[in-house]
């Protein structure tokens, strides 16, 4: 079942219906301490508007969310005396997403802290590499036109972008995969 805004845990945190330890907030972004995190200081950075997956988040909010994540990463280095940080996003259930509200994890790291974000490299043939290269290139041809400016300040934050029926159908399909 697709989680709606009303049922969304993160939206309830944004609306203060669920208490949280906030560490950062601006017009678009809320960051809270994950009180059940991988290590102490693990933070969630979330858009205030409800989006399930990264595809739905407007470019301008993407910029703000990762800028905030970077500031939190710097703050973690500065104030928690750690040796590293990870930025981690799980987009879709097969990628490990558990809550249907786009979330960035900022994770303080030390040696032997029990976290594993490593992988075993897979051996691909030259042909497999070329096939995947061509397929991806076909799709990346048209990217690069990022919407960096706010078109209508304020009104934008209050009213999420209206998406076309075609897009809606695509996202719904993605969300079915999410469940």
């Amino acid at each position: 079942m697709m989680a709606t805004k009303a049922a969304c845990l993160v939206c309830q945190i944004v609306e203060n219906k669920i208490p949280s330890k906030k560490v950062y907030e601006d017009e678009f972004v809320l960051a809270v301490l994950d009180v059940n995190g991988a290590v102490p200081g693990h933070c969630f950075v979330m858009p205030k508007n409800h989006y399930s997956i990264i595809e739905q988040v407007p470019d301008i909010e993407i910029g703000r969310l990762f800028q905030a994540s970077n500031k939190i990463s710097s703050a973690i280095f500065e104030s928690l005396g750690v040796q590293g940080t990870n930025i981690f996003v799980a987009n879709g259930v097969p990628a490990g997403q558990t809550v249907a509200h786009f979330t960035i994890n900022v994770i303080p790291r030390k040696d032997n802290d029990g976290i594993n974000l490593q992988w075993q490299p897979k051996q691909l043939s030259e042909e497999e590499m070329s096939t995947v290269e061509l397929k991806l290139k076909e799709q990346t041809k048209n990217i690069g036109h990022f919407e960096k400016e706010e078109k209508k300040p304020r009104a934008y934050a209050a009213k999420p972008k209206i998406i076309s029926e075609e897009e809606e159908e695509y996202f719904t399909k993605q969300m079915r995969r999410l469940t």
């Binding site: 560490v23 301490l33 990264i54 988040v57 280095f77 097969p94 990628a95 990346t140 990217i143």
Partner: protein, 195 residues
């Protein structure tokens, strides 16, 4: 970086030389040593799938899954806190588009986005990069993020330390250009180890 055979004397001389470099000289030195700067400059071959004025995306030659992409800044930065805000926004707008492309072109059912700052976080190269990983069910990747309930006292203590550290950023809702403070090149060599 490939292993090089140098004598302990040569190593010592090199370390001494690095110590006496100005920050600008050090950056130039790091750039020359950096394999990813050579890829950006086209001196080392790669399977490039996207490029614009600020970033370049290429296929990882040791992929976690077919289609695993590395997104690099063209400029040499060691870790994310060094990157200016406008460039950082651009990087992740490109990441979003690459994630979209994976869902549409290679039947990915999801994606992971990972940045590692520091060796302890799994960073291997001294050039900032974002991993964008296409995911499918049962693809053999198993990231482990344990859950540990925090004590109430720790929540307050750690939360307040972060709030204090973020105060300047949080008050300014518009978040203008801001140089990250508190991290200088000395700290970075600690984070990345003396290599």
């Amino acid at each position: 970086m490939p292993e090089q055979n140098i004598t302990p004397e040569q190593l010592k001389a090199l370390q001494e030389k690095i110590k006496q470099m100005s920050p600008e000289e050090l950056k130039e030195f790091q750039k020359k040593q950096c394999i990813f700067c050579q890829i950006v400059a086209g001196k080392v071959q790669s399977k490039k799938i996207y490029e614009d004025e600020k970033v370049i995306a290429l296929l990882d030659i040791n992929p976690s899954n077919p289609g695993h992409v590395l997104l690099l800044t063209k400029e040499h930065y060691s870790i994310m806190p060094q990157i200016p805000d406008d460039e950082l926004a651009h990087v992740f707008m490109a990441v979003k588009s690459l994630s979209n492309a994976m869902l549409r072109s290679i039947d990915a059912q999801g994606t992971n986005i990972i940045v590692a700052n520091g060796i302890a976080a799994g960073q291997r190269a001294q050039h900032f990069m974002v991993h964008v990983i296409p995911r499918k069910e049962n693809d053999g990747i198993n990231f482990v993020l344990p859950q540990n309930a925090m004590q109430q006292a720790d929540i307050e203590d750690i939360g307040n330390r972060l709030v204090a550290s973020l105060k300047g950023a949080s008050e300014d809702a518009k978040m203008p250009e801001q140089k990250s403070k508190g991290i200088d090149l000395d700290d970075i060599s600690k984070i990345l180890g003396a290599r």
